[in-house]
């Protein structure tokens, strides 16, 4: 027998919990499903200092939201994976339970892109997010001597987290060029990208890059004169002229093989060096997790600025399948505050559709504004051009509506 709810939310990250809190506080009966044993999603692993503000400790924020959800009487289905959604709308859980609702929110978040490198299946190699989970949630060091491959907002943040946890981070390196690493292996592209991240890395040269690095000529100079021993951020060498070409070890990771990259970006194989480590973290970037939208028959669009393929959605966050809404990173990769605000917006919109709001239009307008403010003030931007990505989606939606 299916269990009926006004709203079923899939994913109990900041977006899903935000939606649940708003809808339940307006009186909707809400079911919240997550495959993890604890709500919070990727929020739970986050620890970073906000400029001119306090530390953002994701676990504490998640715990407070969990308390609110319980007080509001949201029914949580934890340790259950949603494997299918049938019209209109039946939500199938992997333990055989079945939920039913006119409204569904897909708040399934984002996942990491792997970058295969010779030796990457050896125990001791993990995705950078796994290191974050180990160190910040479980308080276990992913390794004693760790090398990080891939330069991005996430790897820089987590390098700092590892340092705080007492881990010896031997360096942040580029991946070698292959069909998965693409731009991430290109020093020029990485300098351009780093200049958009300079506020995260307290290093005077990087700060300067942040100011000047938007010009192509400066980027080229930056690569030419980038110190071969790397630049230090929080005492961790950040290498733009070195790539990890192989991870060594049979049963366990023992070392990395590092090659210098010449000024044109080619590997200099004569310059190989072996550096002993017991753990390697690979950071390939994030992409929205959207399989369920596909299962439900939603139309998709490809928007590079948002992290790849996403379900097309309206300015009310509804997909092309009526009743199916999206919120959070499954609509594009951004920080937790934006995800939370998007969830709250969807919670308000669905409450309004359910006829639970007196001043619906006003509340929805405020919620939309909150998303914009969160986006504008975001500390961590995974895609520097996120705003134009959001506009593109609305444009595509309107085009579709005209057709």
């Amino acid at each position: 027998m299916p269990m009926k709810y006004d709203l079923v939310i899939i994913g109990a990250g900041p977006a899903g919990m935000g939606a649940a809190i708003i809808a339940a506080s307006h009186g909707a009966s809400v079911a919240l499903v997550d495959e993890n044993p604890v709500p919070g999603g990727k929020l739970r692993g986050q620890v970073y200092k906000e400029p001119k503000a306090n530390w953002w400790i994701g676990q504490e924020i998640a715990r407070n939201m969990e308390k609110e959800i319980k007080q509001l009487g949201v029914t949580c289905f934890l340790e259950r994976e949603v494997w299918a959604i049938y019209p209109k709308w039946k939500i199938m859980l992997n333990n055989g339970e079945q939920l039913e609702s006119d409204y569904v929110v897909l708040a399934t978040g984002a996942i990491e892109k792997p970058i295969p490198i010779p030796g990457w299946t050896t125990p001791g190699v993990m995705a950078i997010g796994a290191a974050q989970v180990m160190a910040n949630i479980h308080r276990v060091k992913p390794g004693n001597r760790v090398a990080i491959i891939g330069i991005d907002a996430l790897s820089l943040t987590i390098a700092y987290d590892l340092k705080m946890a007492g881990v010896d981070v031997v360096g942040i390196y580029l991946p070698p060029f292959n069909e998965f690493s693409l731009d991430k292996s290109n020093p020029l592209k990485m300098i351009a990208y780093l200049s958009s991240l300079s506020h995260l890395a307290p290093n005077p040269i990087l700060k300067l890059l942040g100011k000047l690095g938007k010009q192509a000529s400066v980027q080229k100079l930056g690569v030419n004169y980038y110190p071969p021993f790397g630049m230090r951020v929080w005492g961790i060498p950040l290498h733009l002229r070195k790539a990890v070409v192989q991870i060594l070890g049979d049963e366990l990771v023992e070392a990395i093989k590092v090659t210098t990259i010449d000024r044109s970006g080619e590997l200099e194989t004569k310059q190989e060096k072996r550096i002993p480590v017991d753990c390697v973290c690979i950071s390939g970037g994030l992409y929205p997790l959207v399989e369920l939208a596909n299962v439900a028959g939603c139309a998709f669009v490809y928007v590079e600025d948002l992290g790849g393929h996403i379900p097309l959605y309206s300015d009310e966050m509804e997909t092309t399948q009526s009743g199916i809404f999206v919120a959070g990173n499954s609509t594009g990769v951004e920080g937790a505050k934006v995800a939370m605000a998007q969830g709250e917006l969807v919670g308000a919109i669905i409450s309004n559709r359910l006829g639970l709001l007196k001043h619906g239009t006003e509340l929805i307008k405020q919620a939309k504004e909150k998303v914009n403010v969160a986006r504008k003030n975001a500390v961590i931007k995974f895609h520097p051009t996120i705003e134009s990505g959001r506009e593109k989606v609305l444009h595509l939606w309107n085009e579709k509506a005209v057709k």
Partner: protein, 101 residues
Amino acid sequence: MRINKHPILGKLDRKEICITYNGSDYQAYEGETIAAALLANHIRVLRYSEKGKKPRGIYCGIGHCYECRVTVDDERSVRACVTVVQDKMKIRSQGMYANEI
């Protein structure tokens, strides 16, 4: 491997329990995942691949890649990175024998 003191997250204060991995006893903390408990005990190899019998450990750490499959109290292919330890839980690695799938 435990981070007992942390400048921002404070002191680690959790209840100890006991788990078994491949027949040996290990200490674990209530609320942590199997993968975290084993790593804290310096164990990284969780299984051997079906083809080639190569060692495998965690990769994504968030339940997506299925690299961390272990057998828990006779249930096969449980994800170590999203499954929380229970006192006296019996965990075994997979793929150790030639005839095992």
